[in-house]
């Protein structure tokens, strides 16, 4: 017992020392860095293909970033492995603030869980800000016999495993949504992974899958062709005000794909702060927010601290879910 007390005391002392040490060092650096950063062009890496949603967001931000940071911002692409190749590069870069990359949740949480060598760890992704949510919702074609979530679940209960739900990829936002729905409603669905949101939508519109766990930007695009039965946001989604949330219908499911921007681990907090300020200004820009809403996204503005907490919270939820799936796979 005594030992423990000492240990506690020692760690408190150590911690105090560290905090003091950090404080003074950042202060010193602040004085220098204030003049120093940014003094040259900044690279903004998109770990996906050109023309994708991450690219569109970055292009939207680019002129404003240049205005607020006073330096050119170059967008480049490092696609592959669902973003993993780009993030593996990110965490190996010099943490000098001149290399940042877009990141997506749940990708950065699930890839290191699932793959032996994703090339990076979730905690190495050093978030600057999160600026956008794509809410996942459940949709069926207009001519589908299911008009409500209740109809859909009733049918799934009557014939387990007979309803196909298409979505983009394995262990992605849409897949997690489907897994959570199965678990909470006690039903069995047949999830079909497609190679992206566009092929999944195509399969739904063509009647090849009976339902789709889709991204909100696709769900708002086809008001004459699909019915959205429920949406996995906390409150009603502004772009689809008539669609009830999953929560309203008795299922505590909140799944979104979140976009943010990160720097390599170990980047000076002062630099992070500078970038954070620029990104927060953009995230709170009324014009940008309106554009995002119109395109079917939920604009958010989480700073570095909030983003970090959010990633930690999501990691807990998804890790638990992943473990269950892995255990079921083994059986």
């Amino acid at each position: 017992m005594k030992k423990l007390k000492y240990l506690l005391l020692a760690s408190i002392l150590l911690l105090a020392f560290l905090v003091a040490g950090c404080g003074s060092s950042t202060k010193d650096q602040k004085a220098e860095k204030k003049v120093e950063y940014p003094t040259k062009p900044i690279t903004y890496v998109i770990p996906f293909d050109a023309g994708g949603q991450s690219d569109i967001e970055a292009r939207r931000q680019q002129p404003l970033l240049e205005k607020y940071l006073g330096q050119p911002v170059t967008i480049t692409y490092k696609p592959g492995g669902g973003g993993a190749v780009g993030w593996a590069e990110l965490v190996k870069q010099k943490p000098d603030g001149y290399y940042m990359a877009g990141f997506n949740i749940p990708h950065i949480i699930l890839q290191p869980l699932e793959r032996k060598d994703a090339g990076y760890k979730t905690e190495e992704i050093n978030p600057v800000a999160i600026f956008q949510k794509t809410i996942i919702g459940l949709a069926v074609p207009k001519n589908s016999p299911y008009n409500t979530l209740e109809d859909f679940i009733k049918a799934a209960k009557a014939k387990p495993g007979s309803i196909t739900v298409g979505g983009s990829g394995t262990l992605t936002g849409p897949h997690l949504f489907t897994l959570l729905l199965e678990k909470q409603a006690g039903i069995k669905l047949q999830y079909i992974p497609f190679t992206g949101a566009a092929p999944a939508t195509q399969a739904l519109l063509g009647g090849h899958s009976q339902a789709m766990a889709g991204n909100s930007d696709d769900l708002v695009k086809y008001p004459d062709k699909i019915k959205v039965l429920g949406i996995a946001s906390a409150d009603r989604f502004k772009a689809l005000p008539d669609v009830p949330t999953m929560k309203e219908q008795g299922y505590d499911i909140q799944v979104s794909v979140d976009r943010g921007v990160a720097v390599p681990p170990g980047t000076d907090p002062v630099i992070v702060k500078k970038l954070e300020e620029a990104f927060m200004k953009i995230a709170n820009d009324e014009n940008i927010k309106a554009q995002m809403l119109k395109d079917g996204f939920e604009p958010v503005a989480m700073n570095a601290e909030q983003s970090k907490k959010y990633i930690e919270e999501r990691t807990k939820v998804f890790t638990e879910l992943y473990k269950q799936v892995a255990a079921e796979k083994k059986q």
Binding site: D49, G51, I56, G80, A118, Y191, F194, P199, K221
Partner: protein, 505 residues
Amino acid sequence: MTENMLFALGNVLDPLKFLLMTLGVAGGIIVGALPGLTATMALALLVPFTFAMDATTSLMVLGGVYVGSMYGGCIAAILVNTPGTPSSIATTFDGYPMTKKGKAEHALVAAAFSSGVGGVFGALVLLFLSPPLAEAALKFGPPEYFWLAVFGLTIIATLSTGSVLKGLMGGALGLLLSTVGIAPIGGDMRFTFGFYQLQAGLELIVVLIGFFCIPEVINMIEKKINPQDVATYKPQKGVARSVIMDLIKKPGLLLRSSAIGTFVGIVPGAGGNIASLMAYNEAVRFSKEKEKFGTGIIDGVAASESSNNAEVGGSLVPLLTLGIPGAAPAAVMLGALMIQGMRPGPELYTTYGNVTYTFLFSFVLANIIMFVLGFFGSRYVARVINLPINILAPLVVFLTVIGSYAIRNNMLDVGIMVFFGLIGYVTKKAGFHPGPIVLGLILGPIAENGLVQSMLMGKASGSMFAVFFTRPISIVLILFCLISVAVPVISAIRARKRKEENANA
């Protein structure tokens, strides 16, 4: 609609817009000609510049670049056996042998003319038939994709000149290579050998450059030792006229290839590379001089080039009507549309009718500009091969290294390119054609996705048989596969019988 069209016609001829679009086409041709720089990348780089333009101008410029780059791919394919873009794979089959015969200009003019015909064909389909065709494209589900890929694999029979066994081995190697990376379904890691970069799989363009270009460069250097084999180009008079007259006499070839290209473009997920290979395959099938293909005839170049340019128009059909991009560059165009506040769908033809019809008309025009530029440029471009080998070979190698790095900004890709280049050199010496290998690489993922997704559909519906064998489009595709495999076998048996009869008589 007519009102919109008339307005659009006036708009297209606006001098500034016209000039910008012409510059777009020219820029596209250059990008397309450089291996590793793709239409997708060129469009993405251009999008921010279009912010400052109005919607029509922006779309006209982007359309011009898309059209130009699809044609530009043929230049490198014809001159140095390197597909500038994956869409010009099949152009190398006859284009490069033509260059070796000293007919580089013939090949380039044929490519420009047939690209123009194909492009205008695709553009007209886009202009007049979009909505019904987009609905038809939706009928393509996972089983149809699976059978389409299987049908595509039967092209191996055409591509394996000499030995079908070697062709099949090449195809199998290609399919195996296509499985490297994250499994499209299930997400497992396959054959990454500890390289995190390989999660992304093998990039088609990198493998293409390796297999097609490097062996040819080594060849060039070898030939330098025996200079009499080195290809040269001497300007001749009347080439353009004779080539075009020759092609006009073959409307069937051009129309068939254009139709195949447009169709493949409309089906989302199948791109210009598949279009050009399929059109080439059909050109061989319908030809009376099958054995001449691959030795350097105009028909081969024309089939490939008319179809890959027709594919451009096709790929915009599902994009404009449904918001589903038919190919990767079309996906970038979707982004550009969204930025201009336009959303694909019926709205485009009503609310934004003026913009849309201007774009569609300009698309026809862009194809004509491309033909003119290609036509007059041919005799100058063809001179590239007259460069001394000690300049040309390092230049080509330099471009291939830059190109394979630039495609994903990934250094490992350069190593992969060199690795497959050496493999390509050795296998070519052993009598393997690179065609079947890249065919397997292209079609592997489509076949795999289609197969697994169909099986999941079958599992849910309770009948695998119904999913795979009873859907109407699937049945047609299965019949195509059977014919494609059976016809060469039957004709081979017949030929043997005839030989025996002749011998007996």
